[in-house]
Structures are given as C-alpha cells and as structure tokens.
Symmetry: C2
C-alpha cells in the first residue's frame, strides 16, 4: 500500500462507537486515516436486543461505515480483520497485506465470555453482533413453534422456559421483552400451546440487577420486571448449561432456550500490544489512553481499562468510547503540532439508562433518578436521537409506534438453513417422534 | 393429531400466494384448516430482488403466517416440511408426524433450476427465498469491497463484472438495480477502485427480454436498461459458470459475481402425486385444479400446469396463484354442500408489470401498453397496494422515497460467517496476496 504518501498515516482498528468517533474527529486534519473493520457496518449496539427480539430489522440499527464516512475525504474504509500488530515496525498485519502506521488507534472492543465454559456458547448464544441477534431471534421464535408441535407436557414446557443469564442492561432488556412477546404478542396465534404459559427467568449471580445503577433503581427495575411476569433470581450462579437446560446453583431446570448476557472478554488483539491487561483482557493504558511504551499507539473503548480520577473504572458504554475516540483524535492533532505534553483523558459521566418494557425503564443522571414512564421516555428519545442516520430514526420511531399500539413485532422472520429446526434440535428428546 | 374431530380437515401445503389465498377464502367455512409451511413467514416475492440489492429489509416484504392468520379461528399454522403424500390413505407425511386430510391443497411452488448444471448453483445463486436474497446481497456488496482491496487490474475488473443470467422480470430488475448501485450509490464511497467501472451484463438465451410481454415492450425494456448502463446480450446461451467467470456462447468472461435468474423447477412434491407432470415438474391438473384421479386433492400456484381456454398456459405469477387458491376454496365449500359438479378454473389476466430502474418500467393491461414513468408509477402503486400489512406499506414507501432522493440503499448490511470473504473466495486467484 502507498505508505510513501506525504501525510502521516492514522490507522484505526474497529468501526464501533470509539473508532468511528476518532475517525470523524480527524476530519480535515492533515493525516491519511484508514479505518479497518471486519464488518461493513457500524452497529448501534444499544438496540441490538430489539433485533434479537424481532422488534427492529437489522438495517434500522446498522449503517455501512463507507456510507457514514463517504464525505470525509481523508478516510479510507477497509473491510478486513487485523491479526497482529508489529509495534517496533509500526505495522498492522492482515491475512493478505500489511498496513504501516504513524499513529494507531486500537478500538476492536469486546465480546461476551463464558467464564471458561466455552462449551456453553453452543447452548446459550450471546448478543454482540447482528449474527448473534439473528441466532437469538431464531431460537426464541422457533421455541414457540416447537412447543406448538410438542405433545409431551414436560417437554412442551421446556420449550416455553426461557432463561436469561446476566442481570446487566442487556439481560434486563431481553427478559422484559421476552415476557412481553409471550404475554402480548403471541397468545392469539397458537392453537395447541399457550405462549402465556412461558416462563422467563432472569438469573444474576451478583447481589442485584443493573450493578452500574443506584441500588434503589436496581430494586425498582426488579419490581418492574416482575410486574411484566419475569422471574428474577438474584445471587444465583449458573453452574451448568446443556441441551436439556440449566443448573441454577444445584437446582436443575429444563429449558431449551438459554440466552447469555453475562461476561465480557476484550478483543484478543489487546493481548498482542505487550502492555498489561486486566482479568478480562482489557489493556491498561496511560492516562492519555496511549500504550505506556508507545505514545503513538492508543487503545480506546471497551478494549481499554481506564481509571477515573476517583479510582472507579470508566464503564464500557457508548458515550465513554466516543469520548475516548475524540480524545485520542485531539492528541494526534496536538502531536502533529509538535505539542507532546500528554493530556490525560477525563471521563464525563452522561448518566445511565436501561429499558425494561413498555413505559418501564430506569435512568440516572448525576443525582437525578428516574424510573417508570419518565425514564422510559428519556430512554426512547435518547436512543432515537443517537441513532445514526435520519432515515433510521424515522423508521425506528415508526416501528416502535406500530409495535406499541398493535403489540406486534414486525421482524418475526426466521431465516437460515435451520429455519425449521433449532440449531441444537438434534440433541433434543423432543425430536424423537 | 386429533383427526377425530367432527369437521372436515383441509390441509394446505405451502403459505405462498396460492396457499394463503385458499386459507383466507375458507374463513368461516365449516372446516378445520391446517396450513403447513417450512418457513414461518409469507414472502412477497415480487419485491425479493430489492432485499437482494439492499433496497429493502427482509421484514418489509415478509410477514409471519401466524400473524396474518391469527384472527381466523379455523386455521392452525404449522412450521414443517411435507415429505410425501399417501393419496390412498389421505395422509401427509412429515419427519415426525402424519397429518390426515379430507381435502388437500398442494401449493409448494417452484424454485430455480440450473438445467442440469447443478454445480453452477455454487457460483451463481438464484433468488427464491430470503436466504437467497441475503446470499446475493452479500456477494454483490463484497464484490465491490474485494475490488477495493485488489491491486491486480484484471482481477479488480473481474470483481466489478456482474453477470445476470435470465431476461425475465427478476433478471431485468436485478440488472437495472445493480447498474444504479454502481453508478449512483457507491461511487463516492471507495478510494482505490471506481464502482462506475462496473460492468453489468444481462444475458438471455431467447430472442428477447421479458418474453411474457408484448415484443414492443421487450424492446422498450432493453432500451431503458441500456440507458441505465446495462449491457444486454440477447440470444446468448451461458455454456459454463465457475469460480473464474462465465462462458457466453464460447466467449469467456472473467466475472466473480454471477446471479441466476433463469429456469424454474416445480417443488419435488409434485412428482409424488402420481399425476402427469410437464418438463419443469409441474402437475397437470384437471380443469378444476384437482388431481385427475383424486377430486379431494388440488394443486395450485407455480406447482400447477394449467391451460387457459385459449390453449396458452396460466403464467406462474402471484395473481394466478391467488385466483387458484380462491377457486379451490370455493370448490371445497361446494363439495361440503354436496355440490360435486366440477367447476373449471378460469384465469383472469390482470396484466403484467416489470420494473427496470427509477422511472423505468414496462406494463401491459389487455391492449394497454405503458413504459417509462407511467409504467413505473403503476408498478409502484400496485406493489405497495398488494404488500401485506399496513406497516409494511408505510415503511416500504418511506424506504423508497428515501432511496429515491438520496440514491442510498439502507439495507447495505453484510452479515453471515463470511462477512469478510465471499463464499467462493477460497477458489479465487485474488486471494493469494
């Protein structure tokens, strides 16, 4: 590639909130920017659970990176996956080529982790990519289909038992939505089984839901979930997951649909930057988000382990990633102006939001605490506002309004080779006629 | 299953236009209806090419069969695939159960055929299901991505050569849309390659495009396509397709993206009804659409080979399938009233429409012939009108308006395991760095 060009070359790995914010903040800067992502699209992850639960279609929360950046002439977008970084030679290695850099921004994020139980992945899909969301959607919709075909009462109930593991925002959102689907969306549509008999369990090993929130809001969130029909189990560890169900502590539960919303593991690229990492594989960066030994390399977003001035960790949320992206872009501009005084990153907490169901949510901004309808309206406006692209916002609003009044969910489409059987069906007793 | 129930049992195989119309026409009739489809959704196939070309998202043209029929209490929807029909015992065989029937309506449709070259399927995907559409979308979008990464001029051009095989409506629609994408949607977004250098070839073995239309319209369609930049090759047979490209007659062309819009093969179930079939496997039914030897079994839609009174064949289009569905529903109601005088099916030609690009289309209704903007407006209104579900119509209109003004296509999302590599890339020279 023409690394001979005059301008300094900034390589950004990852087109999530952090990488995209960095690229945009470098608009007009005297640099060549190359943004590399292994997907062709930026994903608005906060609404991914709605794709997984058939409330939104994928294009409503994903936009092609090329399209987002097409007017920024100093950016080249490449579809590829970085395999390694040669810090000494300042080169990124891909399967078929290398890319030299003057500045490197690593923003490859995190994925879900199974705490060393990788065999659970097959039975309990996580939720990080659009493909994950399609897999979850397929499992959930087919579970109700299989229940309709199952004559054996215990197995029919096992098809109607849904276990969501992890009491963070994603787990809360998934559980609340599943309960709504079972109680309001599907009942009229089945003749042999009754979707209202579905059980939705939300299992959290810690002492409360939404640990990032104020304890009073955790309690309110739990009450709102229980009002929706979700069974919340706090302080309960999942000790086993297989084709038959789960073990909660040492209590087995037959459940053919288990969803994983717990555990985060940083992108493996983090371990190849010869810098210290935390237990989850996040890179411990300097105060200015650069690598201790490499001021020209920055790590941002979920991949970075950053301490706030008050000693707490910067949370792995979109606003933090965006702030980091803008910070490193400013750092690079400063370096170009030969100003090498390392400015430390300061995280501005913009508050936290979690939705639970219709008119049910929790929110906190500094000392302000909201729950119920007020929090829900804030959540709705905030998420629509931050969605990328005018069209997406309009369509999402339309979808939500439609879903709100009709209780229907428009994306209830099962695709994929296994449109008839759930991926793991071969292992299920219910498959023997 | 409880075939012991009092009411006669009508089993409908297939939830396409024909099967769905039959089920709806049996609303309120003194029968139990079981509609079986191997997909959970009814697909509005006339717009499938727009999902394949990233103009629409899947849920906009597909609706769950359960949702469509939820208010019709005498219908049970099952997600399953019929493997065989026992005409003597009046039973349908599935993998895990059997279903007895008093009346059977077989509406399992057709898929694309490769004229005995099944090995072409791998290189030239067809377009019948949503999964087909996603595969085509992935190929097309990734071809432009690969061109951007390819330094070898000839191979870069091979990534920018698109061959559409088959000059029917689907082929015409695909070719026209691809030309628009290359010329209007993508150019600003690539830095190394120029999407405007893409070549879109539409290859038809017969003497003209759109054989179902009046010859004057075929010529007009060809002119409109050529104005969009499509290279139309008439009377040209494709003699080979592989990982390198195609042979047109005996002229080889390097093209890494080949789309198949030719050839139709009826559902294999048709051959298991011990009735005569035509070359494409369509079942030759009696004048009332029943099997010659089995008045209680009807075959409708693309699976049926029906002659009009004037000797021409009823075309494999949605209006014909719907008319057949309503006809057999009426026949069944008549039989229940002990009226066994077989009423023959009469096809009412509602005209033909094919779109080519923005403001470009052809239409004929009886003696009326339209092309260009008037035909395009008729096409647009007709397709939106016939789309299932108020919400879909609204969203589709919104998507189209947005795409029309911005030239953008909102569903340009690549998903699937091979989001980085095209499925066949392993066979491509361009993969060696």
């Amino acid at each position: 590639m023409d690394d001979g060009a005059a301008l300094p070359h900034v390589v950004i790995l990852g087109g999530g909130f952090g990488g995209l914010a960095a690229a945009r903040a470098l608009a007009g800067a005297p640099v060549r920017v190359t943004l590399v992502d292994r997907r062709n699209h930026h994903l608005f992850q906060p609404l991914l659970y709605q794709v997984a639960t058939a409330g939104l279609s994928a294009p409503s929360i994903a936009a092609p990176l090329r399209q987002i950046l097409r007017k920024q002439d100093n950016v080249t977008v490449l579809l590829d996956e970085a395999l390694d970084v040669d810090l000494a030679a300042q080169r990124v290695h891909f399967a078929h080529e290398m890319l030299g850099y003057d500045f490197l921004i690593v923003a490859t994020g995190a994925t879900h982790a199974y705490f060393g139980h990788d065999d659970w992945a097959r039975w309990a899909p996580g939720l990080k990519t659009l493909d994950d969301a399609f897999a979850v959607r397929r499992r959930v919709l087919l579970a109700f289909e299989r229940a309709e075909r199952e004559d054996h009462p215990a197995r029919r109930q096992a098809w109607l038992n849904f276990v969501v593991v992890g009491g963070g925002p994603t787990g809360v959102e998934l559980a609340g939505t599943l309960a709504e689907i079972a109680r309001h969306t599907l009942p009229r549509e089945f003749r042999r089984s009754d979707p209202r008999r579905a059980r939705v369990l939300l299992v959290e090993a810690g002492p409360r839901l939404l640990p990032a929130f104020d304890p009073t809001l955790s309690a309110k969130a739990q009450r709102q979930l229980e009002r929706l029909g979700v069974e919340v189990q706090i302080g309960t560890a999942v000790t086993a997951i297989d084709g038959e169900g789960v073990c909660l502590g040492n209590v087995p539960l037959e459940a053919y649909t288990v969803l994983w919303a717990a555990g985060v593991a940083a992108s493996p690229l983090g371990r190849r930057l010869d810098a210290p990492t935390d237990r989850a594989g996040r890179v411990r960066v300097a105060a200015d988000l650069s690598l201790p030994a490499h001021p020209e390399v920055f790590v941002i977003g979920d991949l970075a382990c950053v301490e706030c001035t008050d000693g707490t960790r910067v949370p792995g949320v979109a606003p933090a990633a965006k702030q980091m992206g803008r910070h490193v872009a400013a750092r690079i501009r400063a370096c170009l102006d030969a100003d090498s005084t390392p400015a430390p990153f300061h995280y501005r907490d913009q508050g936290a939001l979690a939705t639970i169901g219709r008119m049910a949510a929790v929110a906190q901004f500094g000392r302000l605490r909201l729950s119920g309808p007020p929090a829900w309206w804030v959540w709705l406006l905030a998420h629509v506002y931050f969605l990328i692209g005018f069209r997406n916002r309009l369509v999402v609003l339309l979808d939500w309004a439609w879903a709100y009044w009709t209780y229907q969910r428009h994306a209830r489409i099962v695709t994929g080779a296994d449109a008839v059987d759930v991926p793991t069906a071969d292992k299920r007793p219910s498959d023997i006629p």
